[in-house]
Symmetry: C2
Subunit: 238 residues, 2 copies
């Protein structure tokens, strides 16, 4: 029996209209849809793509949030095992990824494992949260000859990246804005910052400058920093 193909399908950052035509087709053609399930039982990627999944079998892949390399490795191996068991039955599997699969996704690790085992994998790119956040605020990420940095809030390189790049996206300031606020204020960048939380989801919020921005932004948040571009006072979208 021919083995199935694994498709990594980016479903965009939250708005179901930001799925691509290709994502919709690949989901509809798949035999099985696989979805990451958070520690709290959330299936955000599935929620976004729900109307295209129909009554197809859904494989739930537990994806606990952890920074422990051993926990992560065990998680990735377990997901690869789940997926390969379906592929071995000749079924094509669409694994749904929040945002774009190339940017901080669990699927990147799983894909490498599945490829190493000799299966076919195809990847469908999508709209990353950074592009959706820029669009929501009617702002550019970069123009002309500018450089752009994408940096996790917890990275030890945050300060040097903010210093070197013309614009920076700080990913997942998350449960405490204070360390990021301190870094931005020390580099004189607080007024050049726009924070977007839950972009394209229910409860979306935009904060221009850091005044009034709550300390706990939740998981789905990022900060756009573009010095001298007066982001904090630019016009918003309708």
């Amino acid at each position: 029996m021919d083995k199935g193909t694994l498709f990594g399908v980016s479903v965009g950052p939250g708005d179901p209209e930001l799925l691509t035509l290709k994502a919709v087709r690949v989901i509809q053609e798949a035999d099985v849809v696989a979805v990451p399930v958070s520690s709290g039982g959330r299936t955000t990627a599935l929620d976004i793509a729900r109307e295209h999944v129909g009554d197809k079998p859904v494989m739930r892949c537990p994806t606990p949030m952890s920074s422990d390399p051993q926990v992560l490795r065990t998680t990735h191996l377990a997901i690869a095992d789940q997926l390969c068991a379906e592929l071995d039955q000749g079924r094509n599997v669409a694994y749904l990824c929040l945002g774009d699969v190339g940017i901080y996704s669990t699927f990147s690790y799983v894909r490498d494992l599945v490829l190493q085992r000799g299966y076919q994998v195809q990847t469908v790119p999508g709209v990353p949260s950074i592009c959706a956040a820029a669009a929501t605020t009617n702002a550019a990420l970069c123009t002309g000859g500018e450089t752009l940095a994408i940096v996790p809030a917890a990275s030890s390189k945050l300060g040097s990246m903010l210093n070197l790049a013309d614009a920076t996206v700080v990913m997942k300031p998350g449960r405490s804005l204070e360390p990021l606020r301190a870094t931005l204020e020390s580099q004189g960048l607080a007024d050049d910052t726009v924070v977007v939380s839950r972009c394209g989801m229910e409860g979306e919020r935009v904060y221009r400058g850091l005044d009034g921005c709550p300390d706990d932004l939740g998981y789905f948040s990022l900060a756009l920093v573009r010095p001298g571009r007066d982001l904090a006072s630019s016009a918003g979208t309708a």
Copy 2:
């Protein structure tokens, strides 16, 4: 009469299936579709979205390639004038942008001018070429706590960005690969580089490492540099 709304619509990097459902809807609902026209008369964004434009009026916006700030300013003002003339007639205009509108687009400048004149603008994000290129090569742009830099090949910051970031996308190596090749080789990164040209378009090519990569890559090309990730020998997609 109410003024029309300007929509900046990202159409993705080349594959017509990478339009989002929202892009398709906004194009179909618009009264007029505006498209950038290159010096050579190419209308790449229109070609990508063609089947959704139907027999709608198409406004052609000359967009000469130039790095002269005066030429660019004149171009942006002329496009803003064209668009505002339609908006003044109460017509909604969808301006098509290659890739994602937040990343190196002419529309970013035009949007600022149109917003300054008091019109409503809404932006539809899309799939950027960097995400499509990563997907085509089954590679991650960044994972875990990594940092990612996006740098034009001609930037004076290229060397320092390559040095600082965990991964780098070099945009538009273009008509001559030689300066980029020299920089990558001097930093020992040539083998960690994958070059993708015409991603998702007719004539797409992927070069792992810089061996065999032609000097003239054309306009639609970029290089992914991810040290130590063995990109040059990783498995490709079907």
